[in-house]
Every structure is written in structure tokens, then in C-alpha cells.
Symmetry: none
Subunit: 432 residues, 2 copies
Amino acid sequence: MVKSKIRAVVVTIGDEILIGQVVNRNASWIGQQMNLAGFSVVRMVTVPDQEEAISGALEASLSHADIVLMTGGLGPTKDDITKHALATFFNMQLVEDQDTLRQVTSFFAARGMALTETNRKQAEVPEGCQVMKNQHGTAPGMLFEKDGKVAVAMPGVPAEMKRLMTGVVIPELRRRYQGQEIVHKTIMTHGMGESHLSDLIRDWEEGLPPHIRLAYLPRPGVVRLRLSAAGDSRSYLEQTIAEQVTMLKRLIPELVFGFDDITMEEVVGRMLRRQEKTVATAESCTGGAIASKLTSISGSSDYFKGAVVAYDNQVKQQLLGVTPGSLQKEGAVSKQVAEQMAAGGRIKMATDYAVATTGIAGPGGGTADKPAGTVWIAVASGEEVVSELFRFGNQRERNIERTVLSALNMLRKLLLKREHRDAGLSSPASDS
Amino acid sequence: MVKSKIRAVVVTIGDEILIGQVVNRNASWIGQQMNLAGFSVVRMVTVPDQEEAISGALEASLSHADIVLMTGGLGPTKDDITKHALATFFNMQLVEDQDTLRQVTSFFAARGMALTETNRKQAEVPEGCQVMKNQHGTAPGMLFEKDGKVAVAMPGVPAEMKRLMTGVVIPELRRRYQGQEIVHKTIMTHGMGESHLSDLIRDWEEGLPPHIRLAYLPRPGVVRLRLSAAGDSRSYLEQTIAEQVTMLKRLIPELVFGFDDITMEEVVGRMLRRQEKTVATAESCTGGAIASKLTSISGSSDYFKGAVVAYDNQVKQQLLGVTPGSLQKEGAVSKQVAEQMAAGGRIKMATDYAVATTGIAGPGGGTADKPAGTVWIAVASGEEVVSELFRFGNQRERNIERTVLSALNMLRKLLLKREHRDAGLSSPASDS
């Protein structure tokens, strides 16, 4: 990880996070924003709504970081005790803040509600902290200083926290600290596992300049390679990262399908749109998951026409034109049936391309010959039908996920070939 | 929140969490499972892939909790240094574990791949720790003991971590610590939002005996009601919870579709299997997501025959028999088209039931008449076609998710009606 000299800790307060009722997206968002702003988040901590736990986390965090960003525990209900913990920790009295009181009063007035005693308490703040107006809720943000370090308390409601962070906290922190420039680039790869990929690109990795670091971020079927550069000049960082990306793409052209967290379905969707081509799917073992992925993108109706999910052999024959002979002789999980599904689906739904899958998703249903995880994928264009055999494991969900990715990747390669042919090129490259 | 005396800390290791590239869902899931098992998660901490940070978190966590659960940093690439940090912290040597080596070798052999030096390192473990076999990946889990406390290290890949937690870690922790007896029961509801539901069942909630607590766990389209009872006698807890569940089911019979995190597709799948009936789907706005959900269940080929995803009107006509007149006069998003899709899909795929959806998933594509989120759902049986209009918001992903749930729920109600008729009953009840 690239290190900024300015270290921050994110502290989340709330029992609902600890019992797993709520996923801690706030911490994630804060991490992202701080990182983009050139600060280094060195720790994230979640503690319960208890005064002792809050003070403890605050003390520990201030001892090894410059900035502590706290969210949660500022609402009006009785389990919210952050403000008392802060007042005690910083040795301050709680006093009514007049600006905040006006803000809270008008917040309720605008909703036709009178101010209760509980609401009024929202206007109390530790005397001497810097109050940050919350225009979208009732709990204000608060900024504390101690020994040249900064602690910030924000409400846990995501929209309120985000506005305070973007509008007040980050500009304030930038003003106080001079962060180092940090540039990231993520390369999306498919088709090789983390360990084999790392063997393959070891020499390149070891040749990275010292200001650039590499991290492997694997997901099922996808390994993301994140390059991070730190230094004084943003343009220099961007240029050196671009050089390394070019080298990497030359090394593994077939594996790179895009950049910066783009999904395979987005890449394929953009290519189809650019080429003004249409696609359909003919799915057995993926059960509609490829169609579902393609249509998760708004506007996909421009290039996606339809799908036939043919779990049953009758449906394969009736709606896709698979021949009874192939089903009998080769079995439903075979090269022939996959290719007939793709070719038939393309014709039945009148598209330029069709993608077909047939396999044993598992965990049951396998044989010695065709164990669970055996999958045939075929892609048909007007000119050719290509097909490939895959052997995944016996976990149903993963097999489906991997089949979807592999099928879309085969379509991507076919589209890429066409793009290169149209452009008069011959070597493969990846879409950005 | 029911409090256990046994305290646990969840430590997540990974730069990708700290820079906000990945949301920490692992910690959330572990929090939930530990809470259900009767342990109290008192803190969650995320640290970078650095030896010092890992040891520091481990030391601090062991000082104020009984159990430390670590995930992440066990992959083969060089940014993964957790194992070294653990060996140093517990003062152990890294040695090759023969069982793990066999497991890793056969993992790669099954994929037709040879073992690299990097892979081989995966089989190294600190000598003296308890190795937990990871049957779904290459990095094993490890359990350490120190001064009567327990530290567990698991891989960060969610599927692998979850299987180790459920299969090994939680049973082991239960065996070691004798918590208070805790009994949970989760009631799955669909069809009403959290706030309206809570108004509706307020009297029942307020009448709960003091040893039973209620938590609302909302998900898109589903509100889970979790009852937790704590005490000395398991049978007493189970009996009193069962009484409360019976009362609640009488109060909201239409809304309860199952128990204990069963999914709607599992409920529907079980009913179809029990009744020996088959189903197909004819989907427009859901783009194959209903078929995908139904086929996510192993063995679903017994009752699921196929699907036609008809994004394009031509496909609606060709493969589902929708009439051009209805499309022209009523538009694709209409009661008539939904009903024709369901009836046509049922006949084309020769099933007992068919479910159809047509709507505007959004965010684009809406009109004043039919804004984004307008969805017609129809279900056809051999006897009738029922249909219903829904108006969701303009968030694509949520709309699709809600349409899938609502469609499956309509099918569930039709299946339920049949079950009751066959059983000679008349009042509705819910499936368990």
C-alpha cells in the first residue's frame, strides 16, 4: 500500500454493526474518500454504543494516527452516548449551541412538528469544539483538536455523513495537512487464478519502480491488479502508471478485459453498442444468469434481444432446434449440443450473436465421465460457432458465476476479433 | 441485543478494505453468526497487510476478549503476510503441513494444473496450531490457543471463510465455551415495509415476555423478524418462542412465507416438488433473474423446465405467442401482454405453471403514464391466469429484485391455494 504521511483512523459506533445487522458501508466510503484526498487510512474500528468503548477507541486511535473520523451514535435516542463520551474525553461541558438550536428548530418546523425536549438536546455540544452545521439532519458534526491532532464526530446517517465529509471535513483536513499525491489504476483480468498469474507476471512486478506498488484483489473468476503510485507530481505518477499498464497489457493481452472496476457485462455491452450488434443467450446450466447479468445494465435493450433458458431437453428441441439425435448420442452436456443451442438461439431470436451454455452446475448430477463442474460454452456469430470445454469444481454458485464470466469473455474475444479485423489490425488487445 | 459473557473481536486484514475498494461484508457476516451462536462481538478492527499492524491488533484484541476471529491475508501472493505475523506472534516455526499439501495438490490437479512453488507455500502453517481443512480453496484455516483464549485465522474469500466458520469454528467455540442457552427463530415476511409492519404488530411486540427480544432485519422486499430468547432451559425457550410465532402467524398470515432465512425460491421449489408440478418463466423486465433464482437451487431441474426472456417484442410474439394487436394497443407493459406471456410460456414449455413479468426496470424508459418502476406480473396455471400491477421506484437493481420476489410470491399463493383446496381447507396459512 502506498503510504501518505498523514494517518487516519475510522471509528464506527453502533451495536447494529457488531451484530451484523448493518454492513459498515460508511467506513468503506470514508476510506475511499480519504484515500482519494491523499490521506492514509491505517485502521478501521467498530465499537458498541458504550461510553467506555468509545473513549478507549478514541484514545488508542489518537495515539497512532493524526486524524480520527467517527460516525454514529449522535442521534436523539437514549442509546446514543457518543456526545457525552466526547465531552468527558476532551474535558468539556455540554452547552446549547444557538446556531444548532435554530437549525434543529427550523428542521422540525419545516416538517410541521414542534420541538420536543429530546430534540432540543440535539443542540447541545461540548463547549469549545468546532460545530459543523448539518443541513440535512438534526445532529451537527463536531471537530476537536488535541496536541495537533484532529478528531471529528459525524452522524451515522450515510447521506448526512457524506455531505459533512465532502463539504466540510475533507476541505478542512486538506487545509491543515499537506497530503502527498496518490494515483491508482486497477487492471481487470479474467482467465487465470491469482497464484498462476503472479508467477506469470513476477518479473514485471519485481521491475516496478519503487514509488509504484501492486496489490492482488481476487474475486470469483476475476483477479484485479491494483497499481498505486505516491509522490509529489500527479502528472509524473499518472505517466509512470500508464507506462506500466502498457507493459502489463503486452504481457497478458488475453487476460486483461478492462480497467477500474468495470464489469465484464459492461465491457461486452459497450462493444456491442459500438459495433451496433445484437445478442441473445441460450442457457442451460446458467439458468438465465447470463441474460440477467446483461440486462442488469440500463439501456441493454438496445443490444440484448432475449434468451431461452432450456433446462429441459424438450425445451432445447422445441425452442432452440437442438436435434434429438445429438441429445441421445452425445448427451445434453456436449460440444454438439452447446453449438446447436448457440446457432439455434441466434436464428430463433434473430440476433448477430448468441451465447450458449450446457453443463452440470452441481453439486449433484455428475457422472464419472462428466463430473459436476463440466461445462460446454459456445458462441455463434453469422460466420462461425466457437466452443470450449471448462472444468470447474462442484460448488453450484461458483460454477454458475464462472460460467457466466467465461461465456461473456468468449463473446468479448469474438467481438474483439471483429473490431481488429474491421480496423485492419491483427494482434489482440483489450478493451478499455 | 442479547448479551453473552463470552466476548469476541473480529479482525479483518486487507489494504483493499482500508482504501474503500471492498466493503467489509465478512465482518458483518461473522458478527451475525457469532451473535446467533450466543457470543458477543465487542469490536471489529480492520488493519493493513503489515506484520506489525496484524500483531498489534492481535495483542490488543486478546487483551480484552476471549476470542479473536481473523480473516484475510492468507492468499499465496507476497502481499499476504498474515501467516508470518501469526508464526512470530505465537512464537512458532512455519512447517509444511502434509494434509494441507495433499489438499492443495489435489485442488490444482482437479483443475488440470501443476503445483507451483507459490502454491506449495500455501501448505505451510505455524507448527503447533490446529489446522482447519479448507475444502473449497487452498489456504487452510488455523486455530491458536494462548492463556485459555482462542485466535482463529481464516482466508478472506467469503465462501471459504463462511464454510470454515459454519463447519468448524462455531462448533469448536461452542464446545469450548458454555454460553447461556440462546434460541433464535427468524420469521420471513414479504409484502409490507418495516415501519408499517411494526405498526401492525406493535401490540404483539409489546406483549412479548421479557426473556424474548425482537429484531427487525430488513432486506429489499423482505423483512425478517428475529426472535431471540435467552435463559437456562433450552426446551422452555423453544416452547415460548413457538407460542409467539403461532400468535404472529395468526396476525399476519399473508405476509409470512417461511422461517429461518429460507429464501422465497426455496419455499416455492419445495411446494412444486411436493405437488409434483412444473414451472417455466416468461420474463421481460426481470431479464432472466427469476429463472436464475429458481435454478440457483440444486435439483431444481425436477420442477423448473425453462424460460423465455423476451426483451424484444419480436421474441414476445415468436416464442411466447403474444399477439401484435395487444402489443400495439396496450403496449408491452400491460395486463394483457403479461397474461399472454404467462399463458403462452406455459404452453410453449409444457409446464403446469408459468410466471411472467413485463415492466420498466428503469432508471430510463419511463413515460408519464408508465413511469420507471411500473411492472405487471402474471401467473398462469391450467385453470386461471392471475395478474397484478406493481409500482416500484426508479432504481433498476431494486426493481428487478422486488419484481422477482413479488412474482415468486404470487406463484406461492397460487400453490398454497391448491394445497388448501386439495386438503379441503379454506383459510390461508404459510409454508414452513
